[in-house]
């Protein structure tokens, strides 16, 4: 039961999941940039 590059399937998908979770904070910030300034205080 081996995944790509010789990782086990579980380890491979965990790596993929890591990358997805790892970029989330950047996406949250980029999404923030699109909001107008005045909305910030209302959080």
């Amino acid at each position: 039961m081996t995944g790509p590059w010789g990782f086990t399937t579980g380890a491979f998908w965990l790596l993929v999941l890591s990358v997805i979770i790892g970029v989330l904070p950047l996406l949250i910030y980029l999404n923030d940039l699109r909001k107008p300034e005045s909305k910030e205080e209302g959080e």
């Binding site: 590059w5 010789g6 965990l14 890591s18 790892g22 904070p25 923030d32």
Partner: protein, 484 residues
């Protein structure tokens, strides 16, 4: 003189120079603690990432990956990444609240939110205890690195670096800490990527690495090390690592120090992205380390794995560069801890309870004096070298999560949380966490208490805080208005 030592001396001098520059720029307490609340996202990202990566990563976790293979992913990497997401969510709110209420330290937040000076004292005490353990880990990491790579005795390495980082934290406070963290992070992310590029062909690429690991021990490719780690045990560490990040004193202080909420989120977004790249390289370095040093019995303990790989397999110049980077990682973490302890002790204990009329200059002086005493005490503790880093780390995160979880999350998001509810939440979390930790360290814990102490302390403290909040007097509207 050996090129490695020359590089290291130059590095120390540069860092001290930046510390002196910070000293010239530090005039008020706000400058010392929070860089005058003017941190931008780029320097913020550097200082967040720089503080995050420490001896625990380079020595502790590469050592763990060397010994237990891909189990490093569920045990550590995923927890960190989830923690950054939680931090991104709370950073904006913390920044807005700190600016609105003029909060200097996280303890100011707990005190103000629950209108309780007891909570300020309680959280300050646990921060100081937790950070002393953390600092001991960093010093042990540094000592091991220098012992293996440069060949200077453990005790001397601990003392020399201990003095250098104390000196420059002392000089500038957050302004110099933020700048040196950012410089140091640049140094060690470059070094890690260079090491990654260098090591990958040595082990035959990722596929070659995994093939070699399978032939050394097939368990190295298992996420549970062939069932040695129970899923609930892994979940316990994951939970503690993920939740300690948003409520870590140093990171709360950084979110508060950013000049506006957008910069705070930018700091977390950019910092986390850099850390993601860094951690992927660390996973490969850890696994490659085992391929290059296959015999688990050949080293005294897992902490020696990465330094041994560097000294045995890397060219001298690269080894020197990595050594400077490792020194950077350790220093950028320790300086932040020292700063927190100095500011907590001076602001939250001295000014609050001992000398409320003290001038700013006097409080700054006390912060610096406490920093020296604390540094000296932890240097002495590190010299005793109590255990492998990974073991001490699991012990340490209990202090970072158990006392705060309930008051941090319920405080931020649940308006009905009351003063008494918060006191019960903070005290029960701390007492249960520390008691189970002690039983586990003394090897007296029954099997039902063998998982990470936070798994017991957090749910119980949250439930108690909710129950007590429902039956006690709500906080006055004028207090709540400031925080919601």
């Amino acid at each position: 003189m050996d090129i490695k030592i020359v590089l290291f001396v130059i590095y120390c001098l540069v860092i001290l120079g930046v510390g002196y520059y910070g000293y010239l720029k530090t005039k008020t307490l706000g400058d010392f603690y929070l860089a005058g609340r003017k941190l931008n996202k780029w320097i913020g990202a550097g200082t967040f990432a720089g503080t995050f990566v420490s001896a625990i990563t380079f020595v502790g976790w590469i050592g763990f990956g060397w010994k237990f293979g891909t189990a490093i992913l569920p045990v550590y990497v995923i927890g960190c990444l989830v923690g950054y997401v939680l931090y991104a969510i709370v950073a904006t709110k913390l920044n807005i609240l700190a600016h609105r209420n003029n909060a200097n330290t996280p303890s100011d937040y707990y005190e103000g939110r629950f209108d309780s000076s007891f909570l300020k004292l309680w959280t300050t005490i646990f921060t100081i205890i937790g950070f002393s353990v953390y600092l001991v880990i960093q010093l042990i990491g540094t000592g091991v690195l220098f012992e293996v790579i440069v060949g200077i005795p453990f005790a001397q390495a601990v003392i020399i670096l201990g003095i250098v980082y104390t000196a420059y934290t002392l000089l500038g406070g957050m302004k110099s800490v933020a700048w040196t963290d950012a410089i140091q992070f640049s140094v060690f992310i470059v070094a890690t990527i260079v090491a990654f590029i260098y090591v990958l062909p040595l082990v035959g690429g990722v596929s070659g690495m995994n093939t070699s690991l399978a032939s050394i021990d097939p368990k190295l490719l298992s996420l549970t090390f062939g069932g040695a780690f129970k899923p609930l045990w892994i979940f316990g560490i994951f939970f503690a690592v993920a939740t300690c990040i948003p409520m870590h004193y140093g990171y709360i202080a950084r979110a508060m120090a950013c000049k506006n909420p957008k910069e705070a989120r930018g700091m977390v977004g950019i910092g986390s992205f850099l850390l993601l790249i860094f951690y992927l390289a660390i996973v490969v370095l850890a696994l490659s380390c085992r391929v290059l040093i296959p015999d688990v019995g050949s080293l005294a303990n897992m902490d020696a794995a990465f330094p041994t790989m560097v000294i045995d397999f890397f060219p001298k110049l690269l080894a020197g560069f990595i050594l400077a980077a490792l020194g950077a990682a350790v220093m950028s973490t320790t300086d932040s801890i020292l700063l927190q302890v100095g500011s907590n002790g001076a602001n939250d204990i001295y000014k609050k309870y001992i000398n409320p009329d003290a001038s700013e200059k006097k409080v700054l002086g006390v912060a610096r004096a406490l920093l020296i005493i604390f540094a000296a005490a932890t240097i002495l503790m590190a010299l005793t070298r109590p255990a492998a880093i990974y073991t001490i780390y699991n012990f340490f995160i209990v202090f970072l999560v158990a006392p705060y979880f309930a008051i941090f999350f319920l405080g931020l998001y649940w308006k009905k949380a009351t003063k008494m509810g918060a006191i019960v939440g903070a005290v029960s979390g701390a007492v249960i966490g520390v008691a189970i930790n002690a039983l586990q360290v003394l090897k007296m814990a029954p099997s039902s208490l063998s998982y990470h102490p936070t798994l017991y302390a957090v749910p119980i403290s949250v439930i108690l805080m909710i129950i007590v909040s429902y039956v006690t007097k709500p906080l006055p509207e004028e207090v709540l208005k400031k925080w919601f």
